[in-house]
């Protein structure tokens, strides 16, 4: 009897505790959402001047903000794609073949994951400046691909750890060629790892500000645009876009994540 009471109390405490942590996590987001409805029109857009939906309309006139968002999506999309292809091939290749310098490449992969982003940012800046590569979309994509690849590789590798290479041999013995074996046997087995890596890469890419900050030239990404607006006070239209992105994210999660989890369990 006492034990049961104890358990109920414990449960209540843990629910209360988790609620607090979630509050902590969502608090600044609620500030963003609320401020996107603020009718204020004067910088620094701090005091509450009443409710309006205007900013969700005005947002579509702010071409530089939309362009920055578009840039972010293109950079994240292209980098994720490239990093996923290169990373997946790399992970399988490194699993399958022993070659000279493999240990070095392996060691290099950890660098973008562990060193502070600012170090990767300035090192890319110095090398791009030295090689006189104009900063812009190209350098941004190169930088993003660089820090995305390791995440893809590690995720694929985790999947490869439980991978039985003999099924490839079996497939080939049954007459399938290399390509068919790769696409019909190897890839499907690795798919959850590849997808997980790609998702992680995409998430990191869209939010990256520190590395992009050093290599952007004139191509502003959405986080860099936010950084700029933070300087003079974040305008409600930026908040409105962030709110829309948040809604988009939730929809995306609902659409895809349910399945993803089912697959993982299988």
């Amino acid at each position: 009897m006492d034990k049961k009471k104890n358990k109920g109390l414990k449960k209540k405490i843990s629910v209360a505790y988790c609620t607090l942590v979630y509050l902590f996590l969502f608090l600044p987001i609620s500030v963003i959402v609320v401020n996107s409805f603020n009718a204020t029109t004067t910088k620094p857009y701090m005091s509450w001047k009443g409710f309006t939906l205007d900013w969700y309309v005005k947002l579509w006139d702010n071409s530089s903000l939309l362009e920055a968002f578009g840039n972010t999506m293109i950079i994240a999309g292209v980098s994720t794609l490239l990093a996923t292809v290169i990373g997946t091939l790399g992970a399988i290749g490194m699993y399958r073949y022993r070659f000279r310098g493999r240990a070095i490449v392996d060691g290099l992969l950890y660098i973008p994951v562990v060193i502070p982003e600012i170090v990767l940012g300035i090192s890319l800046l110095t090398i791009f400046a030295k090689a006189d590569i104009p900063r812009g979309m190209l350098t941004l994509i190169l930088a993003h691909v660089t820090f995305c690849i390791p995440f893809v590789i590690f995720n694929v590798r985790a999947r490869l750890a439980g991978y039985d290479i003999s099924i490839e041999e079996a497939s080939m013995d049954l007459g399938a060629n290399r390509r068919t074996t790769f696409f019909e046997v190897t890839l499907p087995v690795l798919a959850p790892g590849i997808l997980g890596g790609a998702l992680l890469a995409f998430t990191i890419s869209i939010d990256d500000v520190i590395i992009s900050y050093f290599v952007y030239g004139q191509t502003k990404t959405y986080p860099l645009k936010v950084m700029e607006s933070v300087k003079s006070g974040v305008a409600p239209d930026v908040n409105a876009l962030s709110t829309l992105i948040l809604i988009g994210t939730v929809i995306f999660v609902v659409l895809t994540q349910g399945d993803l989890f089912n697959k993982k369990r299988a």
Partner: protein, 349 residues
């Protein structure tokens, strides 16, 4: 599941391409990459230029001359078409042969600029630069919260103001202000004097709550800070929001600056840059600019059209004696600047 994910990703990509398309559609007469101070050039003026000339303007911003010079150096030549450096930075850029000459043929609006601002020592004959706006770094006081009477830079070091100040995040401004409070020059190079200045500077540490060059008015308006050593127009804007805030021109003589339009060497859109600069010199553009960012306006025609309310507002239209009694920053040798940098690191440690 994979198909679903891929289709969601593709649709995101397509939407973003579409967005980019919207952004780029205006560029029928090419583009222009301008690199300017934050909170300094009116967005409506830029928009008006875009609409009138069909040129797409890409704006990047910086928070100090040093930021700009550094970025300019690290980027490839041709990244920027128009810059907006202060006096001493113009001199430095000319010395390094980093600027294109201004095409006087196009500068039809140069006649709107008052002679007092032309032919300055940093660019005699305005070969490379034309003036935009200017001002001083002065003091803002929230009189409702600060009893102490503040008359000069020296008062900012009063321990009574601990944890209340917002100052510019700009080492030349803050160190220069400290030097002036002691009767020294903002461009001091003498090591013994710099050591004295450093001792004084470090007493400011306890007083500063926030370093902000971009929008220091925000902290004054929100009430997070009650005293500021900030750009004059930032004070003027804070005064518009909160009448308790007053402007003080330091009795020691203020840090004066004049910012100028220039075109860096190798600019890809030189002709558009000239059109842009000439447009910015026009009275209409100047009026939009000072309406949003009320600094000292060299454009006498615009000033005449702004009316008495603007001209008589001493925070916006900085009085002539404040300018003549002030001091300009000069470019110093790297060794001295290294000392400045170390002092700055000490202050912010």
């Amino acid at each position: 599941m994979m198909k679903k994910l891929v289709s969601v990703m593709t649709s995101i990509l397509m939407v973003s391409m579409l967005l980019c398309g919207c952004g780029g559609s205006k560029a029928k007469n090419g583009e222009l990459n301008v690199f300017i101070w934050t909170e300094y050039v009116s967005e409506s003026a830029i928009k008006a230029f875009e609409d009138e000339y069909g040129i797409k303007v890409n704006v990047s911003t910086y928070s100090s001359n040093e930021d700009m010079l550094s970025k300019l150096k690290s980027e490839s030549e041709g990244t920027y078409d128009v810059l907006l450096p202060s006096d001493y930075a113009v001199e430095y850029l000319i010395a390094q042969d980093k600027l294109e000459k201004i095409d006087r043929q196009v500068m039809t609006n140069l006649s709107c600029i008052s002679d007092a601002y032309l032919d300055q020592p940093y660019d005699p004959g305005n070969e490379y630069s034309v003036p935009y706006e200017g001002g001083v770094a002065c003091i803002a006081v929230n009189t409702a919260k600060v009893d102490k009477e503040i008359t000069g830079y020296a008062d900012l070091f009063d321990p009574a103001l601990a944890g209340q100040e917002v100052v510019l995040d700009d080492n030349r401004a803050v160190i220069g202000m400290t030097a002036r409070s002691m009767g020294y020059s903002m461009n001091e190079t003498d090591r013994a004097k710099l050591a004295e200045i450093q001792d004084k500077l470090l007493t400011l540490k306890e007083n500063v709550k926030l370093y902000d060059s971009d929008s220091p008015k925000s902290a004054l308006i929100s009430g997070d800070c009650t005293v500021g050593m900030i750009w004059s127009a930032e004070v003027a804007l804070a005064m518009d929001e909160n009448p308790d805030i007053k402007i003080v021109y330091p009795k020691e003589g203020a840090y004066v600056f004049l910012d100028n339009w220039v075109v860096p060497k190798g600019a890809k859109n030189y002709d558009n840059a000239m059109k842009f600069i000439n447009y910015m010199l026009s009275p209409e553009a100047a009026k939009m600019n000072i309406a949003d960012f009320p600094y000292l306006c060299p454009n006498s025609e615009a000033l005449a059209q702004m009316g008495d309310e603007y001209v008589s507002n001493t925070a916006k239209n900085v009085p002539a004696d404040v300018i003549s009694g002030g001091e300009f920053v000069k470019y110093l040798d790297p060794d001295t600047l290294a000392v400045y940098d170390e002092m700055w690191t000490k202050l912010k440690e």
